[in-house]
């Protein structure tokens, strides 16, 4: 029998830590029983269309965001809520907790997509081209903050106290440079890689979203593997995620100094004020209506 080919399509570049982790850890670990074949840069399937491609049998793997899954199943928006996950370890605890099972089951039953493991993307920070010091969400009032173009992201921007603007990523650098927007939010590695430090003045370490992705696999492919190979593949996925997680955490730590050296002001605001404002905004919003009862409490209880 031929080895199954696991085609993965994702929009990130080949140098992204997720790509490096999958190519150096995941691929080699499964090579005895499957061929890992990644495509980066979103050339096989457009960003945000990979899940349906898997579901329709045209792709085997993807790196999916909670926002993307919430377009199918609104309850996934809980994992894209601000100040929900405390840190990378908290994400893993939540993903492996029984509370996650109904979410995994639904994605498998209705999309045929198995959520293999959780990948750490980094803590999103507010990055502004203004000098004004930010202490509380009230200080963000009037700032045009670029957020990715979807309802969930725009809401996060609003809950931070800013005026969220959807600008395509390719136009963001110019928009920051000319002042069409006053700032953007991303993990520090993105600020570095996309050169936003060239056109912004400060980073407010809000850590408002500990961002995650799910590594996904076609349920059909999974079911076709022997239990032994399933276990090997699961371990390979977890190991790759862990490898990427440690790399990204290290990079984030180094970049605080790295970006200071580029002349940016970097400081922590009143995190308590941000956390309570944002959490309240989510609980009062329509998003939370789709969330299972008590889930926020359960997730909070898993934080160490």
């Amino acid at each position: 029998q031929d080895k199954p080919v696991l085609r993965l399509s994702s929009v990130n570049s080949a140098t992204d830590q997720r790509a490096v982790a999958l190519e150096t850890v995941f691929g080699p670990a499964i090579k005895d029983f499957a061929t890992f074949q990644p495509t980066w840069g979103g050339t096989l399937f457009k960003q945000g269309t990979e899940l349906e491609a898997i579901s329709r049998g045209n792709l085997e793997m993807s790196i999916a965001s909670a926002q993307e899954l919430s377009n199918f199943f609104p309850e996934f928006s809980v994992f894209s809520a601000g100040y929900l996950h405390r840190d990378a370890a908290h994400q893993v605890a939540v993903f492996n907790d029984p509370l996650m099972q109904p979410f995994k089951d639904k994605a498998e039953a209705e999309l045929g997509v198995k959520l293999l493991t959780v990948m750490y993307l980094g803590r999103r920070q507010v990055n502004l081209n203004s000098d004004k010091e930010i202490k509380t969400p009230a200080d963000m009032a009037g700032f045009k903050l670029r957020m990715p173009p979807s309802d969930a992201w725009q809401f996060l921007g609003k809950s931070l106290g800013a005026n969220p603007v959807p600008v395509p990523f390719a136009e963001l650098y110019t928009a920051l440079q000319t002042g069409a927007v006053d700032g953007q939010d991303n993990p520090l590695p993105t600020v570095m890689d996309a050169k936003f430090y060239e056109v912004t003045k400060q980073i407010v370490l809000t850590s408002h979203l500990v961002d995650l992705n799910y590594l996904t696999l076609s349920k059909k492919v999974w079911d076709g593997l022997s239990p032994e190979n399933q276990a090997k593949l699961q371990k390979a996925a977890d190991d790759a995620a862990e490898f990427g997680r440690q790399n990204q955490l290290k990079k984030e730590d180094e970049l605080v100094e790295g970006l200071k050296a580029k002349g940016l002001k970097i400081y922590e605001p009143d995190l308590g004020a941000f956390r309570s404002t944002v959490q309240k905004a989510y609980l009062d919003s329509d998003f939370s209506k789709a969330w299972p009862a008590d889930i926020v409490d359960k997730i909070n209880a898993l934080a160490k």
């Binding site: 329709r56 979807s150 959807p166």
Partner: protein, 173 residues
């Protein structure tokens, strides 16, 4: 019949023009809301993209005359009219086969999207992408007709591509 077709054409053109005007207007609203009033709106991008998608496939299926399509005319324009008609018939046949063969899979694809909602407005996406089915049907009708006309040896003025000459009266379209 001719009148009916002319009326329909005016109707479809009016719809396409309205979609472009709406796109223009929403873009202006987006700029004004952000720059003049500092109340940026998240929904404008999605509305613009939806209008653009619909404009391309509505216009592409129902409003384009044969000569409006962009084509590589190097060889085509250097052969005589009877040869052009044979070229046209062969092209029509191959296009028809491909569109017919992929039509049902495409219906299945579009229908799949009833479970996914759009990013901002939460519209079920099979409504948004359904326009492509209309486009496919329009193309199949168009090229089925070209083929029929060829088989009946009827001169198809619609299908004739004469290039720049038609603009000589004045305004470039």
């Amino acid at each position: 019949m001719k009148q009916l077709i002319a009326g329909l054409r005016r109707g479809t053109e009016a719809v396409a023009a309205a979609m472009l005007a709406a796109l223009f207007f929403v873009f202006l609203v987006q700029i004004a809301a952000r720059y003049l009033f500092n109340v940026p709106m998240g929904w404008t991008v999605e509305v613009c993209l939806t209008l653009w998608l619909w404009l391309v496939f509505w216009g592409g299926g129902l409003c384009l005359r044969a000569s409006d399509h962009i084509r590589f005319d190097l060889l085509y324009l250097s052969v005589n009219r009877p040869t052009q008609r044979i070229f046209g018939a062969i092209a029509a046949l191959i296009i028809l086969i491909a569109f017919a063969a992929s039509f049902l899979p495409t219906v299945d694809y579009v229908w799949f999207y009833k479970i996914k909602r759009s990013n901002t407005l939460g519209i079920r996406l099979h409504y948004v992408f359904g326009i492509y089915l209309l486009f496919m049907i329009a193309i199949m009708v168009r090229y089925g007709n070209v083929l029929l006309n060829f088989l009946r040896r009827k001169e198809d003025i619609q299908g004739q591509i004469i290039g720049y000459a038609r603009h000589d009266e004045g305004a470039i379209k």
